[in-house]
Amino acid sequence: MARMSMIEAIRSAMEVSMARDEKVVVFGEDVGYFGGVFRCTQGLQQKYGVSRCFDTPINESGIVGTAIGMAAYGLRPCIEIQFADYMYPAYDQIVSEAARIRYRSSGQFTCPMVIRMPTGGGIFGGQTHSQSPEALFTHVAGLKTVVPSNPHDAKGLLIASIEDPDPVIFLEPKRLYNGPFDGRPDRPVTSWSQHPLGEVPEGHFALPLGEAVVRRPGRAVTVLAYGTMVHVALCAAEEAEIDAEVIDLRTLLPLDLETIVASVKKTRRCVVVHEATLTSGFGAELVSLVQEECFWHLEAPILRVAGYDTPYPHAQEWDYFPGPRRVAEALVETMEA
C-alpha cells in the first residue's frame, strides 16, 4: 500500500496498465511532454515513449475519433478530455460511434477505450470548467459511466475501465484531486494523506464496474451519491445528526441497483444528490428506479438535491454548489415527511 492523491492514483493506474499491456496508449491535449494540465499523465511519456503517450491537436472529436480507430485496430486507448466541459465537440464520436460500433458491426469491431475527463465545480472555474455531464452519457446505450470518489477507487476503477471490452466514460471529480472535499470551502482543505481511502495498492488491482459501496451505514434514510457529493453527504449526515446510509455508487452504468434497493427497503427513505443540473440529471433516473422498485416501502417522497438549472456561475459558485447545508435540509425534510 502507498499513500496517493487522486491524481497520483489515476497516474498509477495508467502506469500499471501501460506496463502490463503494450496496447494501452494515452493521449490528449497537453498530455504528453507536459503531463496534463492536472498532471495526471506526468512521466508517462518519459517512461513509455512518445508512441504510447503523446500530445494531440486541440480537437476533441479528433481525439475520440482517432481513439476509436485505434481501438478498432486492437489498441486500448485511454484518452483525456481536458475538462468534461470540452467533450461536446466529441459527443458525436462518443454517442454515434464509440457506443455503437460493437452493436452495429455485430461484434466484428469493438471499442475498448476509456475517456477520462475532470468534472464538477468548486474551483472557481466558471461555466466551462465546472460541468458534470454524466446524464448525457448514461442516456446512451453502449457506454459505461464511472465516477470515483477517492484515490483507492480511482485506481481500481480506472484499471478495470482500461481492461473493459467496451467504451467507458471515466469522470474525475476535480475537486477531489487533492483531498476529500466535504463541501465546506470555509474549512481548511484536508489532504488524501489524512484519509484511509488515500491508501492505495501500488501494483495492479481492479475494482469491478457496477458495484456500489456503503460509505456510511445508517437506518434513517438512504443517500445516493457519487464523486464529490459522497463527501458532502457524509458531512451533511454528521451535521444534521441523522443516521443516514450513504451509498457511493461508483459506477452509474451499469448500476448496482441491488445495493440501492436493499438499503432503501431498509431505511424507507431516500435522498439523491448530484452536482449536475437538476432537470433530467442522473438523479431523475435514480429516483425513478427507486420508486419503481421500492414503492411499497417508501415513507416519504424521494428528494433530489442538485445543481440549479442555470449555467454554473463563477462568483456565486458556493451559492450554486449543492453543499452540506442543502443536503442536510433535504435529510431533515425527508425525515419529517
Binding site: S51, I68, M70, A72, Y103, Q108
Partner: protein, 412 residues
Amino acid sequence: MNEQTAASLSFHVPEPEVRPGEQPDFSHVQIPRAGSVPRPPVDVDPSEIRQLAYSIIRVLNRDGEAVGPWAGTLTQGELLEGLRHMMRLRAFDARMLTAQRQGKTSFYMQHMGEEAVSCAFRRALEPGDMNFPTYRQAGLLIAGDYPMVEMMNQIFSNEADPLKGRQLPVLYSAKDYGFFSLSGNLATQFPQAVGWAMASAISGDSRIAVAWIGDGSTAESDFHAGLVFASTYRAPVVLNIVNNQWAISTFQGIARGGSGTFAARGLGFGIPALRVDGNDYLAVHAVAKWAVERARRNLGPTLIEHVTYRVGAHSTSDDPSAYRPKAESDAWPLGDPVIRLKNHLIKLGAWSEERQKQAEAEIRDEVISAQREAESHGTMHSGGRPSPRDMFEGVYETMPPHLRRQRQKAGF
C-alpha cells in the same frame, strides 16, 4: 478613417449552372488531356506538387488508349477482372433497386457512374489494409470478393444477415475484407481511419488505412479533424474524396464554396493532394497505387479527389428530377467508367462487344442466383427475420443487468 462608402452588402449563395428544364452544361469543367499530368516520385516534397490539386490525372484517352506517365500499372488480366468487378457492381445495383421497389428491402443506394472509384482502388490494397468507407463504396466489397449473397442478406435484413438486422441496408461491415463498419453519420469515419493508421504505425505494423468521404461531406467538421491528425502524425492513410458533383440535392459548389477544388483542401495541411478522373479505371488505380505506396513507405497521408458523377438518385428515397436536369448525366464529360474500360480492352484486342454481352449475361445469372440464395433466408417483408432477442445482444460484451431485465420483461 475608411475611404470606402458604406455601400450595402449583399448575400451570395452559390447556384448550379443549370436547373431542371434547362440544358445540361459542363463547359465550366476543365478537363486536361489524358496523359498530360506528370507522375512525381512518391517521396516528392509535397510543396512541389501543389498544382496536382488543380488538375486531373487521366490515363484513358478518347480513343481508348492508355497514355502518359500514370499508365501501365495493371496487366491485361487485371483489367479484364476489373471490368468484371464494375459490371458485377452495376448488375448488383440494378437487382437491388428492383428488390427495393418490390418491398424486399426498405432502402437502397446505388453506384451508377462511380463504379471505377472503389473497384479500381481496391486493387491497390494488400490483405490486412482497412477501408473506412461511405455507403457508396460497395465496389470495395465486390472487387474484394466479398460474397454478394452476404451483402444481400444484409440488405434484406434476413435471418442470415451478418449484422443481425441491426443496420440500415447497405451499411455493411466486413472486417475480414478490410471494410470498416459503416455509420449513418457522415464523416465520422475520417478521423477513425486516421486513428487506425496511427495505431498501425504505433504498433510497427505495415498495414495502412484508407478513408473515404463524399464531396458534400467534406464540409463536415470530422473531415478537418481527420486532416489535422493525419498531417500532424504523418499517418499511413490514404484520404479519398469522391466528388460525384452532388450531395443529395445540393451541387458541389455548396460544399466547395470559393475553392478551386476539393483536393486543394489538403494543401493547407502540407498533405500531397491529387485529382484523378474517377471514371477512368486505370487512372484511379495508378493514383491509388502511388498514394498507397507513400503510406506504406511511411511517407505519410495523401489526399485524392476522385472526379466523377452520381448518375442515379441519391438513394431510393430521392428523386433528382426535382433539382437537376434529367439528361445531365449524359452530358457528363468524363463518360461512363464501364464503357471506357470496355473500349480500352477492345482497343487492346483483349475484348469484344460480344464477350461483353456474354459477360453481362453471366453476371446477371450470378447475381440472380445469389439473390435466390439470399431470399431463401428471407427478405425484409417476408418471413425469416433476425430474432428480437438479438436486439438486446451485443450492446456490450456482457449484457448488464438493466438490459437483462428489459429483455426479460419484453418476453424475448
